[in-house]
Symmetry: C2
Subunit: 397 residues, 2 copies
Amino acid sequence: MTCLLVPAVACAARAPAGHKTTGHGHQQPKIGVTRGVRSKVSAARAGMDGGAPPAIAPDAVINLELGDPTMYEAFWREVGERAAVAIPGWSGMSYFSNAQSLCWFLDPEFEREVRRVHRLVGNAAVDDGYHLVVGTGATQLFQAAMYALSPAGAQRPVGVVSPAPYYSSYPPQTDLLLSGFYRWAGDANAFDGDAHIELVCSPNNPDGAIREAVLSSESSKAIHDLVTGHAGARLGWALVKDRDVAKKMVYFVDRSTIGVSKDSQVRAAKILAVVSDAYGPGEDDTRLRLFDFARRRMGERWRVLRASVAATGAFSLPEETAGYCNFTKQTVAAYPAFAWLRCEKAGVEECAEFLRGHSIVARGGEQFGGDARCVRVNMLDRDSVFDVLIQRLSSIT
Amino acid sequence: MTCLLVPAVACAARAPAGHKTTGHGHQQPKIGVTRGVRSKVSAARAGMDGGAPPAIAPDAVINLELGDPTMYEAFWREVGERAAVAIPGWSGMSYFSNAQSLCWFLDPEFEREVRRVHRLVGNAAVDDGYHLVVGTGATQLFQAAMYALSPAGAQRPVGVVSPAPYYSSYPPQTDLLLSGFYRWAGDANAFDGDAHIELVCSPNNPDGAIREAVLSSESSKAIHDLVTGHAGARLGWALVKDRDVAKKMVYFVDRSTIGVSKDSQVRAAKILAVVSDAYGPGEDDTRLRLFDFARRRMGERWRVLRASVAATGAFSLPEETAGYCNFTKQTVAAYPAFAWLRCEKAGVEECAEFLRGHSIVARGGEQFGGDARCVRVNMLDRDSVFDVLIQRLSSIT
């Protein structure tokens, strides 16, 4: 089974990650799922979607527990009208987008732009007989992939594992319906069974580590996890080499939601076209280059974060990693979408609780099957929120 | 547990059905699911979405196996620009639509228009403390409802039943993941257990019968099934009286797809606003009145179909039913979205196979747990397809 999956408009958030994993796409295609996360909500986030960032009060709680990629609103506001879509009332009334296609609910223009952006970035073998399957977020496709990869006629559900620390939503998403086909089996490093499905998140959520599968057997399958951009569109896609696996994934999406929003596909096609056009011949407006924007902003944020963490001495971060980027043709540092922050203060056993005392909401390490002295902090929120994060971390000594 | 669910822009297709069930909404709120269906595809349907209806060749197969509501494209083309939406590239990037809401991924404007259209039609008690939950089609909400209604800590999955003939997608949708919480248990009339969930489709898919739950016990739950309009939007909603049930349904949608397409919600809000505005004060352009259009067109189609069936003598249809409509304040006939056509010709055991010989694809009765001499025929396709259906049925003697 060979398959690669990335969320729609993923390049927005995954520019660095995308570069890092460029080689893997060709050498070892995988199935992957979104890093989209959601949990309890703070007042600071209320009503911010799409609006201008409000001023944040000195005592306001900032919620960085989630993976909201709102940092990119500034880029798309700069791009302006050319990224907008207009949808007439009469369009998209049918269940069908392409009746002749294996994935009958896949919008043909969206498919063209997905293949085009992969050719541009060079991180997927889109022209090598891969079938494209669209889903309601990569979250649905990750479930479709587990469904398609579960052994037929098994006596018991196949185990689904991932090395700790793993994405905290894997266990509840996998076991949502207590499926007879698959069941969460915990830390891959503690797994001693045979047949299994391993979830390989690279760069890893929460700690940004570059990963390959740690388990392998005749009957093992790997599902790789990439990142997300226009989160509200709830759109993801899979490039699937094996036709039967693709058909099973299409069947799953059909039965669970009878296809995928056409409106989101129309919109994603436009967003992806703007992304690719910006790197095309004759386009020299650098403000339109999403990957450049992402790399520059994420680089700045990581430098600021590492400087403030080094200054306080109260925290630590994973070492910076680097790798060769097939897109920019150079070795680049990784700037993950999340920071895996560890509290080094004596007496602090739970970093999440400690930070909450400083009005910072982050997700505790224990939820990732990891160290409670660590927290996962979203690096993709708006500048106004990120700046407050740095101010507050710097004040902790 | 009191809850009512209808698919987004449902009124487009459910004008007659909506009227028929008006009273039920108040007297006996239920959970309901979409009638969206999909199966194998014929050449006649290829590439028709949103485009002008192509001429249908004399030997072309027409596919009426599905519930595509493309009849309404003509209405929305007439409405024109006022039903269009423009979505800027920077909007909808966050997972959140309303962080303070129980349903955090529900667009507030979409919620306002849903409650407004229910007040207009008078088929749901939207102002009586009901929580609104949005889903990726009512298909997802039907699964969310089964998840929320399944008894906690049960020894085995609760049985899910419906009286035959039942919607043919109920069994495969219910058992998609072989859930430990619920399992398809077949014909409600043959069910002799206690705790169960009954799917009550009214007007019934496939035969248009007006239904109430046939089973009842201390531990029984009913889920009611209404119909769909802008199918490609993959949007449905539930009005849920019980806060805990609503919270469980929100949790299900969160874990299965991390919310619902914002783009579809923005578009549905506009479509619903146009529908309600057309019946508001100061608006006298009758071309904008969707329910009038639906009632007129469906009435014409049913009259033509019944006349041609009566003329050939080769088929029969269920008797026409009627009921009081709270919206028009009069007794009206029901014009179901599907025709449950029975072949009366001697020697024909499978009506679907017989019609396929006349280049008509319809879904065989046995797939609904019913009579193979019956087929379900879509009544909501484009005029060009419906006209060919009538020509071909009339030629069979």
